[in-house]
């Protein structure tokens, strides 16, 4: 079945390997940041890459592959959340779970505000987990933008393309996210 590829890669296959495939981990992290589900994030990443491959005739028109790939990835991740939400609503109608898509919050998250433990008690691993969970509690847009900027190092222009927002809107959301993290991180002190 797969004896098609190894003999020699076409120009498009080379482009895919050199320019698109390296985006996989960044896409995976974005999907993970939105879905909080490793397996799902992996599937979404694969689907994103396959869709990019199916659109290979349009590559020359794509201005920024990273931003474009992120758009597809984010849409797929949001679609998954929507599906998961409707599934959950069907299953747990009585509970009326409004935030079914938000990952279960670990008890660690509540620690800084309720019972702050001194640095020496919590090892670094746990402290970093707390920050990660703080980020994961941000609204999706803020979280995605923070992910793309502070973790993946995208420019404002690229993030605007990836999220279908203006650069100004991106900065507003990022400002909210950073301010929230700043104030939460300051509280325990």
């Amino acid at each position: 079945m797969n004896r098609h590829v190894p003999t020699g890669l076409s120009a498009q296959e080379l482009t895919f390997q050199n320019d698109i495939l390296p985006l996989k981990d960044s896409l995976f992290r974005l999907a993970l940041r939105i879905t909080f589900d490793r397996l799902e994030a992996e599937d979404i990443t694969q689907e994103t890459l396959l869709r990019l491959w199916q659109q290979r005739d349009e590559w020359p028109q794509i201005e920024n592959m990273g931003a474009y790939a992120s758009t597809i990835c984010r849409r797929l991740a949001l679609d998954f959340l929507k599906r998961a939400k409707t599934r959950n609503e069907g299953a747990e109608e009585a509970e009326g779970e409004a935030h079914a898509h938000i990952a279960p919050v670990s008890p660690l998250v509540a620690l800084p505000s309720t019972a702050p433990l001194p640095d020496e008690v919590l090892d670094q691993r746990q402290r970093l987990d707390i920050v990660r969970q703080l980020i994961d509690q941000l609204p999706e847009v803020q979280r995605t933008i923070l992910q793309l900027r502070d973790i993946e190092g995208y420019s404002y222009d690229e993030i605007a393309q990836a999220t279908d927002l203006t650069e100004t809107q991106v900065k507003v959301y990022l400002h909210r996210a950073r301010t929230r993290l700043k104030s939460t991180l300051l509280k325990p002190e």
Binding site: Q17, D129, I130, G153, R178
Partner: protein, 185 residues
């Protein structure tokens, strides 16, 4: 060590005024082990972000994707044959468009020839006029005369008996003579 620069960068970071390069400096700074107490609250944020940036897919992922893509290309190739036919069917309307487009240069050529001819005639007339040294009135007169001459020629031409008429005349005379011959043996 002076941390003013880092503090300034941080202030601008919260306000979303830092560039990507400046943010990289902040990340690099907080990755060090030696952080002053005043900046400690922010260390975990930058370290956590760095940590989150390390999450990655397993090694088999690439292989799985490439296999899927190979399958995809294969099925696309199989589908290509029927698509070829579709393309051929679609080709005819496209051809009619291109034909009408192809005729356009022809019209253009015809138009330009007409323009060149009229300009040529005009200049020729002007040139002749210049050679004769005639005034405008004279020129009009000459043109009128020329037209008249041309009319005459045409008239002359039309007044000339048509060859068929001539032939008829000859024929009638000859039959007459023949008739005479036959009638009077």
């Amino acid at each position: 060590m002076d941390y003013k620069y880092i503090e300034q960068l941080l202030e601008r970071y919260w306000e979303c005024q830092t560039t990507l390069e400046e943010e990289a400096i902040l990340h690099a700074f907080f990755a060090q082990s030696d952080i002053p107490a005043s900046l400690l609250p922010w260390r975990d944020l930058f370290l956590a972000e760095a940590e989150m940036g390390k999450a990655h897919l397993d090694d088999n992922f690439t292989q799985r994707v490439m296999e899927k893509i190979a399958q995809e290309s294969q099925s696309m190739e199989q589908g290509a044959r029927s698509k070829d036919q579709e393309a051929r069917e679609e080709a005819s309307p496209a051809l009619t468009i291109s034909l009408s487009q192809r005729l356009r240069p022809l019209w253009r050529a015809a138009a330009s020839v007409a323009i060149v001819l009229s300009i040529g005639m005009a200049t020729q007339q002007g040139f002749q006029r210049g050679q004769d040294g005639t005034s405008d009135d004279d020129a009009w007169a000459t043109t009128a005369a020329q037209t008249a001459n041309a009319g005459d020629t045409i008239q002359l031409f039309t007044e000339q008996p048509r060859p068929s008429e001539q032939a008829e005349a000859v024929l009638t005379t000859s039959t007459d003579s023949v008739g005479l011959g036959v009638g009077k043996p």
